[in-house]
């Protein structure tokens, strides 16, 4: 099974990298970009017997290492 995990900064947490990207997009003359938030995408191959087991593994990985829940949220999808 494959897990695709997306980690983003929580609302209200300043994202200077996103801001810099937004400014660079503006400098290219691309208009209408109102905000940019930068995050992480992590793909994991899992040897799990069931989707529930895969979810439990990914949940623990996210909570204990991949995301810092003081500033970040995470979402994921499991593909069998």
């Amino acid at each position: 099974m494959k897990a695709r995990i997306v980690i983003t900064l929580k609302n209200g947490v300043l994202d200077p990298q996103g801001k810099a990207v937004q400014n660079a997009v503006g400098a290219l003359g691309i208009e209408g970009v109102q905000s940019v938030r930068q995050g992480k995408f992590i793909e994991v191959d899992l040897a799990a017997g069931s989707e529930a087991a895969a979810r439990a593994t990914v949940e623990r990985m996210c909570r204990e290492l991949l995301a810092n829940t003081v500033i970040e949220n995470y979402v994921y999808e499991i593909e069998s």
Binding site: V13, L14, L65, N68, V70
Partner: protein, 230 residues
């Protein structure tokens, strides 16, 4: 004073801090490898600066889960003082020994310069030789020193007197201009509830030897020796 300095892959300030500790205490600290499972019996554990694990994932995140940290956390909880400088501060936050997190500098630039820190809390084993409001010069050398915590946590830290150092100007004024990295409330260093775990972003070990210039940081290490040996 028996001190232990923990080395992770990518740590690079271990000798700087070991040299100062030896100069003030007369005893060379023992170096402890991240893969070890136990810190030798110590009066003080230091997590030095550097770029542990190449700052992969988040600064300090990998180091916080390395084998030695289980024992560092256990010893800290049992009361052994722990000093985390720069990357060491980041590791202490990621390990949950201190609240909050150190984010990218608001400027997105790596900062390498002298900064002035105002001592907000002299009643710790790390700052006992300072007066409240006294200034300590230290060297900021980081890309992720922007201290962040939610407002409730910040209020709790302030209320419990756990903000130990703030960035200030040469005259001790805490101003936005004197804040090099965007840290909330200009926080440069905080301690745990028992005031025995200190995380500090700039390097006092690099302002401790007259050969290198300023020496204000030495007082922090003298405070530790005086507090722990007395």
């Amino acid at each position: 004073m028996k001190a232990s300095v923990v080395i992770f892959p990518g740590t690079n300030r271990e000798r700087d801090v070991a040299d100062v500790l030896e100069a003030v205490s007369g005893r060379r600290p023992q170096m402890v490898w991240h893969g070890d499972s136990e810190v030798p019996d110590s009066d003080l554990i230091v997590l030095p600066g550097g770029f542990s694990y190449g700052d992969y994932l988040r600064c300090g995140a990998m180091a916080a889960h390395s084998p030695i940290m289980r024992d560092v956390i256990a010893k800290a909880e049992a009361g052994t003082p722990v000093l985390g400088i720069c990357n060491g501060f980041q590791i202490l936050c990621e390990a949950g020994l201190l609240p909050g997190v150190l984010m990218h500098n608001s400027s997105l630039k790596f900062i390498c310069k002298d900064v002035w820190l105002r001592v907000e809390q002299p009643d710790t084993i790390f700052t006992s030789r300072f007066a409240k409001g006294e200034l300590m010069r230290a060297i900021a050398a980081h890309a992720e020193g922007n201290y962040f915590a939610d407002p409730e946590t910040l209020n709790r830290l302030e209320g419990e007197g756990r903000v130990v150092f703030r960035y200030a100007d040469r005259h001790g004024n805490v101003t936005p201009e004197a804040n090099p990295n965007g840290a909330q409330r200009s926080i440069a260093g905080i301690c745990d509830a028992r005031r025995r775990v200190l995380g500090l972003m700039p390097h006092p070990e690099n302002t401790s030897d007259p050969l290198l210039g300023p020496t204000e940081g030495r007082k922090l290490f003298e405070s530790i020796v005086e507090s722990l040996v007395a």
